[in-house]
Amino acid sequence: MKEKAKIMSDDEMERVLKRLALEILEKNKGMSNSLLVGIQRRGNYLANRLKQYMREMEQEKVITGVLDITLYRDDLSLLHDQPVVHSTGIPVDITGKNVILVDDVLYTGRTVRAALDALMDLGRPSSVQLCVLIDRGHRELPIHPDFVGKKIPTSKNEIVEVRVVELDGVDEVVICERGE
């Protein structure tokens, strides 16, 4: 895989996430009846980042959880090796809450579909909203984000990689070319 271009630096990522935090707060009128749920694994770190910025802005208690959607994927029978299952941990009952799903990249929409199924098995939220750092297009399902960090037109041959300090040692977003 060849790295083609950096499309977001750490400064830019911080700025975008702060804007997203503000938008979420605005739309939900605070976070008192809402929670952020990061999709394993990078959505999880982005959700924590949003939480941190929200608290800096509003000094409000923000609840976050993590959701692993592996067991809900629709491509398990196509993969040779089963992907690793990570933990799901949501500290409150989501029934009646506004759940803001947080993920790094929105692409075909299949991950979000799986996340919706997974969420519904955990309870009945009053609404589910979707926040993504990057929307790269090519949707295969009727799924639309509520909060978007940046829209990037891509070709299917490209891969958008969101890197976070916690896992990758650096905050950045890059586009890579899929190897032949």
Partner: protein, 308 residues
């Protein structure tokens, strides 16, 4: 990690890392057991047959729950009232099931080698050994390792004393292999008539005095004593067995302070284990049962990955 196993016949071909990975996955599966909706669609559309030639409610129900929680389609095929009673061979039964589209067969059979035999006979379906004669019961060993791992951050160097009827026990054989693979110091005790003649292969030491075996153990694992062994003249009476080898509080007191008490169930109170021990604070016997479902979910999930 790249998962190379599509079947589970015995643990002798599993690496430590593979067991650790399965245990890690089982931990995440166990969380599902606490949810209001205990079901995920991971194995939707997979057909799993539980082929049980011996009555075994526990293992079968445990597998069945694991299969159902992963949304597999489950068929239970038991020996009584089926074609087996009419003289159909294991081979024909297996081929029939495969023709019906079974993706996996969980097999419990009284004959040693039944699971590996099935694996040789089947073209596509995966085989999971739920016990073949006195040979192996690998999912029991995995769930035991998983249970122990919940109490110890690493099993490396722990001492586990297995006491009872080793020679007739598939649980003991798989556990000796499994806990040794995890780096444990495994010791066994029991009457010599219930010991296999050769233990070097397993890297296991024998103590004729159970107190010597249990001394300093982190895990005391008791095996079920079947009444027929006494009828076969392998020891004079159940009462004498309990007196010499039964796990009472006195015996357990020789182990490490917080040693775990394990037993594959069902237990014979006052034969191999005293109620005060079985129901005592150190006993994790019921935890083992709960672990069984999670471990079997992880196993099915890892091995039944799509493209075969």
């Amino acid at each position: 990690m790249e998962w190379k196993h599509k079947n589970l016949i015995d643990l002798d071909c599993w690496e430590k890392e593979e067991i650790l990975h399965l245990i890690d996955q089982a931990g995440n599966m166990e969380d599902l057991l606490n949810r209001p909706i205990k079901k995920v669609p991971a194995l939707r559309g997979k057909l799993i047959v539980n082929l049980f030639f011996e009555p075994s409610t526990r293992t079968r129900v445990s597998f069945e729950l694991a299969e159902k929680m992963l949304s597999a389609d489950v068929v239970n095929w038991s020996a009584s009232g089926s074609s087996t009673a009419k003289g159909e061979t294991l081979r024909d039964t297996a081929w029939t099931l495969e023709s019906m589209g079974a993706d996996a067969i969980v097999v419990r059979h009284g004959a040693v080698g039944a699971a590996s035999y099935l694996q040789r006979k089947l073209k596509h379906a995966a085989v999971f050994n739920a016990g073949d004669g006195a040979h192996a019961h690998p999912t029991q060993a995995l769930l035991d390792i998983y249970t122990a791992s919940k109490h110890y951050s690493s099993l490396e160097g722990l001492r586990i004393a297995i006491v009872g009827d080793i020679v007739h026990s598939r649980v003991a054989r798989s556990n000796m292999i499994g806990f040794r693979t995890m780096g444990c110091d495994v010791v066994v005790s029991g009457p010599k008539t219930l010991m296999p003649p050769e233990l070097d292969y397993y890297g296991v030491r024998y103590f004729k005095d159970p107190r010597e075996a249990v001394k300093g153990a982190n895990i005391v694992y008791l095996l079920r004593i079947q009444r027929e062994r006494q009828e076969q003249g392998l020891f004079p009476s159940l009462d004498e067995y309990f007196k010499l080898f039964g796990a009472d509080e006195e015996l357990i007191s020789l182990a490490e302070k917080d040693a775990l008490i394990m037993h594959p169930g069902p237990i014979n109170r006052r034969v191999e284990i005293d109620s005060l021990v079985a129901d005592g604070p150190q006993s994790v016997i019921l935890e083992q049962v709960r672990s069984g479902v999670a471990v079997r979910m992880a196993l099915l999930y890892l091995c039944l990955g799509g493209a075969r």
